[in-house]
């Protein structure tokens, strides 16, 4: 069915399952993003200091240190001795954060926490409404090169290089500590995504996302196209997915292949689960590769090809 003749994306899911069911993960995600930003803003805005600091490093309730492992890696590349950070909290904080995301999926950070995600999502919404062209689409792996470049520059200049320009920090730190002209970089990302490159920043270039993707390479929490036999090729999931290439291997895999979305690029945003009128997708763990197309396999314990 061509784009002109079929109903808008997600319309069918709303008709079948109702509005809430067709938006639940989107709404939960916005709540989560607001929650994490709110935690940080509660201090400076309301004087309630549950969390101090910002996303690069924070202290929760005066005891729990959390640090961005990618920023921490840059300090290591810059030559700051890691031994100095053992007693001071950054090492412990980075390890805790790394472990959590390694477990639940690195790019959960991108879709559930990162404050730039609503910005690029807004850009994409407007991009679609205005019917703009795809624009420049660099390879998905480009972000890995950018990540390597950031670490190389950190090592060469002896400074935490990405924090000079990181739009995530500019926005998050800006809201909490004062923005200055940091908004220009955030606006830059918005315009880049809107006019120059559809889903360009988060989907192709951001080195932070690349790092978290690598971190979650073997994560447990996964989306599975478990009910893929029911797929009627409406393409709604491909339309809403910020990393559409991750869906095909799971959804279009022949019988006997894993229905799990195992790509490190998947952000576990759950939007595909929302918009599918046939309820093909669901959240599960990486060892659960049951599918509806071979019910026999579902009964076999220890089916762990995905691992």
């Amino acid at each position: 069915m061509s784009r002109a003749t079929r109903p808008p994306v997600g319309q069918e899911a709303i008709a079948v399952h109702g509005w809430w069911h067709a938006h639940r993960f989107l709404v939960l995600r916005r709540i989560s993003q607001l929650f994490f930003l709110g935690l940080f803003l509660l201090g400076p805005w309301a004087g309630i200091w549950l969390v101090k600091g910002n996303l690069t490093s924070s202290l929760t309730l005066g005891v729990l240190p959390l640090s961005d492992p990618f920023v921490f890696l840059q300090t290591l590349a810059a030559g700051h001795p890691p031994l100095l950070t053992v007693a001071t909290g950054a090492l412990a904080g980075a390890v805790i954060v790394a472990l959590v995301y390694a477990l639940i999926g690195g790019r959960v950070y991108c879709s559930w926490v990162c404050p730039v995600n609503p910005v690029t999502d807004a850009a994409h919404w407007l991009h679609t409404r205005l019917g703009l062209k795809k624009g420049w689409q660099p390879k998905r792996g480009t972000r890995l090169w950018v990540m390597a470049m950031v670490l190389a520059v950190s090592a060469l200049t002896g400074s935490v290089a990405w924090e000079m320009v990181n739009p995530i920090s500019m926005l998050h730190r800006g809201l909490i500590f004062g923005m200055g002209f940091g908004w220009t970089l955030v606006a830059g990302v918005f315009i880049f995504d809107l006019v120059l490159s559809r889903r360009g920043w988060c989907g192709h270039l951001c080195p932070v996302g690349a790092f978290y993707g690598l971190l979650g390479e073997r994560s447990l929490l996964r989306v599975s196209a478990a009910n893929r036999a029911a797929c009627d090729d409406c393409m709604d999931c491909f339309d809403v997915c910020p990393e559409a290439h991750v869906i095909s291997p799971a959804l279009r895999g022949s019988a006997g292949t894993s229905p799990l979305i195992l790509s490190r690029d998947c952000t576990n945003c759950g939007r595909c689960i929302d918009v599918c009128p046939e309820s093909v997708f669901r959240f599960t763990h990486r060892f659960d590769d049951r599918t509806s197309d071979d019910p026999v396999q579902a009964t076999q314990p220890g089916a762990t090809r995905a691992a």
């Binding site: 201090g43 200091w49 101090k52 600091g53 910002n54 690069t56 490093s57 924070s58 202290l59 240190p65 640090s67 961005d68 920023v71 921490f72 300090t75 810059a78 030559g79 700051h80 100095l84 950070t85 007693a87 001071t88 909290g89 950054a90 904080g93 390879k139 792996g141 480009t142 090169w145 950018v146 390597a148 470049m149 950031v150 190389a152 520059v153 950190s154 060469l156 200049t157 002896g158 400074s159 935490v160 290089a161 990405w162 924090e163 000079m164 320009v165 920090s169 500019m170 730190r173 800006g174 909490i176 500590f177 004062g178 923005m179 200055g180 002209f181 940091g182 220009t184 970089l185």
Partner: protein, 269 residues
């Protein structure tokens, strides 16, 4: 779908090399700009002072992750994170401007304790050892004390009074018969807290805290200060008791029969 290339075929290899070359080229361009920014960011403006215990600027920029925990734990709101395009310090790094809010030199140094990476050196335990900068009396033509008045404010507010700032008595050549009490900073005791700069009564401070790199020079190695190198100047100097003229001694006239030019009052004889 694309036609799948056989792995290892020349076309596959050529495409891979082409893609890699493009990516490396792009990263070289972007990386050059980023490296340029990173090195430019080291140019810390003279008025921006780092918190106590901050590593040398070059090291600091490799260790500070711009989290702002030092800012949060500063009880006097002295510290702030530099905002892009507004403050001169590297974006997101903590600094303070002495003339606005100086460092109050807390004994427990909460900013250092809060630093998660050691960009503020946790080895700093005595705030008097902090070296955030050095105060310099920058305008002797307007400093009230230098004009012969007794303002003394910078001296009075100094947390390390009489060590970091002393008042040195000098002859006031303008009036010919008064003294000038020159505020004089001693670098070995000055923490660079900026209380003096904050308190100067002039519209703009006559005494300013400058970064150490601007305010201090290294002594030339080839100059030897004889009076410090060899003390005493002559080895095995015999220290004889001093016998000074004065009441209570029998030596009212200097030895050698010298008669003072002035007449001693009767009572002292």
């Amino acid at each position: 779908m694309n036609v799948p290339f056989k792995s290892g075929s020349p076309i596959d290899r050529r495409r891979f090399l082409g893609d890699a070359a493009r990516a490396v080229g792009g990263c070289l361009v972007a990386g050059t700009f980023l490296a340029r920014m990173a090195t430019d960011a080291r140019a810390l403006p003279a008025q921006a002072l780092r918190p106590p215990g901050a590593l040398d600027e070059a090291e600091f920029l490799g260790a500070c992750i711009r989290c702002g925990l030092c800012v949060r734990d500063c009880p006097y709101d002295t510290l702030a994170l530099a905002e892009l395009g507004v403050d001169g310090a590297a974006t997101g790094t903590p600094f303070f401007t002495a003339r606005d809010v100086p460092c109050e030199m807390c004994e427990d140094i909460p900013c250092v304790a809060a630093c998660p990476t050691g960009a503020l050196d946790h080895g700093l335990t005595d705030i008097d050892d902090a070296r955030m900068g050095i105060a310099v009396l920058i305008d002797e033509e307007h400093c009230l004390n230098a004009l012969g008045l007794r303002c003394d404010v910078c001296y009075r507010v100094c947390p390390v009074i009489d060590k970091a700032i002393t008042l040195e008595v000098e002859h006031n050549a303008r009036s010919g018969h008064h003294a000038k009490f020159m505020p004089t900073v001693h670098a070995e005791a000055c923490t660079g807290c900026g209380k003096c700069e904050k308190s100067c009564v002039l519209p703009e401070s006559a005494i300013k805290v400058l970064p150490i790199r601007l305010a201090r020079v290294d002594a030339a190695e080839h100059y030897r200060l004889g009076w410090e190198d060899r003390q005493p100047l002559v080895d095995e100097l015999i220290d004889l008791p001093d016998r000074l003229p004065g009441p209570g001694t029998d030596n009212l006239v200097t030895p050698g029969g010298f008669e003072p030019a002035f007449k001693l009052p009767e009572a002292l004889k």
